[in-house]
Symmetry: C2
Subunit: 159 residues, 2 copies
């Protein structure tokens, strides 16, 4: 069964510049479906992890050792933690920090473990870097997740 | 501009029973777009807040004092916190706890501040209660968010 929905609300940021590796910002990113959430206690941020259609299909149909197909994109929207005024024990999104993606192409991005990386900072989505070497820093950090194909995110269990 | 996407992946839980107040589980809920995230330090859970089309339109086009229209649904998917093995400072979704929704209908749900409430527990989405009085407990707790129309969630800033 398939379902078509009209999605009229695209990114409010227009004319977003390409980031490192000549990667374009996916303009409908905020309409993508959810793969998971995470909170980093080392920098007091929280994030939602979204995926494009290829990534969602992989994340929701495979249980372990996900085979991310060429063209799959995982995106993180990251916010500084804030405290919810009406529920003090709730930590909620405050200032928007950045959007970042990892894009699967084992050949094109062979030098960075098969993933292209890009990040745009702030609500106006300023490219974090135009230097193609910036992705090497991403790749270096993602070596810690080598066991899960360099992807930190484990898809959240969904009903 | 509008964009149509095919969304073939619906809930894996079939034949979900109605919850309190005769509310049906929205079967495509996991395909809804994101409104925000939150973490509760009082019960060590994290969640993503999704919205149906009416809720997303309201959340993304209004800055404050959101006028949630009739039929708007906010949904929370809630997980127990777990630690990410590949990044110990990351707290990520573990066991799935429940899906819960609040559904706007000021007249139908006048006795619970204009919102119908329902919750389904576990990956098999067992109705939390068939007792219509269960929503009174939800409503009682949501009084703390009266200033934001009984909705705890403040839509996260999106680029």
């Amino acid at each position: 069964m398939s379902l078509c929905l009209c999605l009229p609300l695209l990114s409010q940021a227009q004319n977003v510049e390409k980031s490192a590796n000549d990667i374009e910002y996916p303009k409908n990113l905020t309409n993508w479906r959810v793969i998971g959430t995470s909170n980093r206690t080392d920098n007091n941020t929280q994030r939602v992890i979204l995926g494009n259609a290829l990534a969602i299909k992989a994340a929701r149909s495979q249980n372990a050792n996900i085979n991310w197909p060429k063209g799959a994109i995982l995106a993180k929207l990251v916010w500084k933690n804030d405290t919810l005024k009406t529920w003090q024990a709730a930590t909620v999104p405050g200032e928007f920090v950045h959007a970042e993606i990892m894009l699967r192409d084992s050949q094109k991005y062979a030098s960075t473990s098969g993933w292209g990386y890009a990040r745009w900072t702030g609500l106006d989505l300023k490219p974090h870097s135009q230097d193609s070497k910036a992705a090497e820093a991403c790749n270096s950090c993602h070596q810690a997740a080598k066991i899960t194909d360099y992807v930190f995110t484990i898809p959240a269990k969904l009903p």
